[in-house]
Symmetry: D2
Subunit: 143 residues, 4 copies
Amino acid sequence: VKARNPDYAARVRELCALAPFVQELGIALDELGEGRCVTSLLLEPRHRQQNGYAHAGVVATLADHSAGVAAGSLVGPDEAVLTVEFKVNLLRPGRGERLRCRAGVLKAGRTLTVAESEIFAVEGEAETLIAKATVTLAMVPYP
Amino acid sequence: VKARNPDYAARVRELCALAPFVQELGIALDELGEGRCVTSLLLEPRHRQQNGYAHAGVVATLADHSAGVAAGSLVGPDEAVLTVEFKVNLLRPGRGERLRCRAGVLKAGRTLTVAESEIFAVEGEAETLIAKATVTLAMVPYP
Amino acid sequence: VKARNPDYAARVRELCALAPFVQELGIALDELGEGRCVTSLLLEPRHRQQNGYAHAGVVATLADHSAGVAAGSLVGPDEAVLTVEFKVNLLRPGRGERLRCRAGVLKAGRTLTVAESEIFAVEGEAETLIAKATVTLAMVPYP
Amino acid sequence: VKARNPDYAARVRELCALAPFVQELGIALDELGEGRCVTSLLLEPRHRQQNGYAHAGVVATLADHSAGVAAGSLVGPDEAVLTVEFKVNLLRPGRGERLRCRAGVLKAGRTLTVAESEIFAVEGEAETLIAKATVTLAMVPYP
C-alpha cells in the first residue's frame, strides 16, 4: 500500500487535531505509516464503566478513530474518509495505565476501505489484547 | 419479556450513575421499561468529529450503553451485563440538538442477551434515524 | 422508499434466477415490494449442521440474499447491488419445516444501502425469530 | 493456546463429517492445529452468484465453519461450540479455482470464544485475500 498524498502525515495530523471528541478523550497518535498507525490513550477514571474497566465506548472510539487514521493515510489530497460501519469484539477487561491501538488497512478501494484495529491494555511493558475491531470506511470529498 | 428483578429500575439507574464515561458524555436515561429504554445526549461541540457531526464513537457509546440498559433491566438481582461485541452502521450524519436512542432486547437468554439500538438525530420535533446497532451482552455476577 | 426502476420486480426475479447458489439452496421469493421482500427455504437434511439445526451458513445466506433483494428493488435500471459486509446474530436454533426471511431497507443511499433481515423458523402456523442480520451493500453497474 | 481434549483432532473431524451442509458445500479440512485450521472448497458453478463470483453465503459458510473448527479444537471432551454471531467483510470478488480459509482463535474463554477467518481465492499458486470474518462462539455441552 502506497499513500497517494505525499503530505499524508500532515493531513492526518491536521484532521486529528480538528476532531474535538478525539481531543476530548485524549487520544494520541504515536506512529503513522502508509495504511497503518499506532494510537494510545491514558486511562483516566472518567473513561471507565461501572466495574472500573475502560468503557466499551472508549475502546470503540479508539478503534474507530485509529482505523480512520490508517485509512485516511492512503487517500488522495482531495479525499477524506468517513466510517460506514464497524464491529468490535471486547475480549478482555480494559484495565491498566493506558490503551494502545494498532490499526492497519486490510483493503484500500476506490470508494471503500476496510481496516482493522487491535486494542491492547498496557501495564508497564506488558500489552494484553483486549479488543478487535473491523471498520468499513467510505471515501468522501475533502474537506 | 418480564424483569426478574422487581427493583430493576433502581438497579439500572444506580449502575448508570456509577459509570463515569456515561456521565462524562452526558447521557440521560429518559424512559425505562422491561427490556427497553430511551436515552439521549445533548450534542455539544466536544462530541464532534472533524466535519462537525457527532463522532462515531459518541454514537457507538450511546448505542452500546442503551443496549446494556435494556438488557440489564431483565437480569436477576445477582446479575449484571457486560458487552461482548457490537456492530453499528452509521446511516446519516449525526447533527442537530441532540441524539436520542431507542434500545430494545431482541432475545434474552440465560447467558447471552442480544439487543438493538436505533439512534436518531433530534432537531426540534423531527427525529432522523442516523445509526443502528446490534449488541451482544453476557450475564456476569453482580456487582 | 420508491423504486427507480419501474420494472424492478422483473429485474429482481431475473437476478435471483441467475444466482446458482440461491437456486442450489432452494430459496424462494414469496413477496417483493419496494425496499422489502419475504423469502423462504424448505429445510432439508442437507441444510443442517451436526445438531440437526439449520447451519449458520444457510441462515446467513438467506439473510444476505434477502437483504440484496430488498436493496436491489430500489436501484436504477443500470445498477445492481453487491454485499460489502454483513453481521448476523443467531438467536435460537433453526429447526422446523422451513425458514422464512423478512428483509427491509433501512437506508438507501447513492453508493451504499443498508438493509436488515429477520429470519424465522416456521413450524405449522408458528414463526419464531431465530436470527437477525444487518447487511451493507454497494451499488455497482448492471450487469 | 493448548487443547484440553487430547483427542481434539478426531473429535473435530467427526463433527465435520456429521454436518451435512459442510459436506454439501464440499468443504475440506486441510490442516488442523490447536486453535487454528486451514480449510478449502473447490469452486463449482453451483457456488456462484449472478456475476459468476463465489456467493457471499458460500464465503460466509466457509468462514463460520472454519472458525468453529478452530474454536472447537480447544474445548474439553464434553463440550462443543455453537456460533453466536459473526461478521464478514467481502473485500474482493471470489473467483479462481478454489477458496481457502485460514482460521485462528483470538481469545478462548470459558463460555465464549472469538475466532477470525481469512478467506483467499486461490488461482494456481496465487492466493488473494477476498474476505475477513470475526466469529463469536459459545461453549455448549457435547453432543
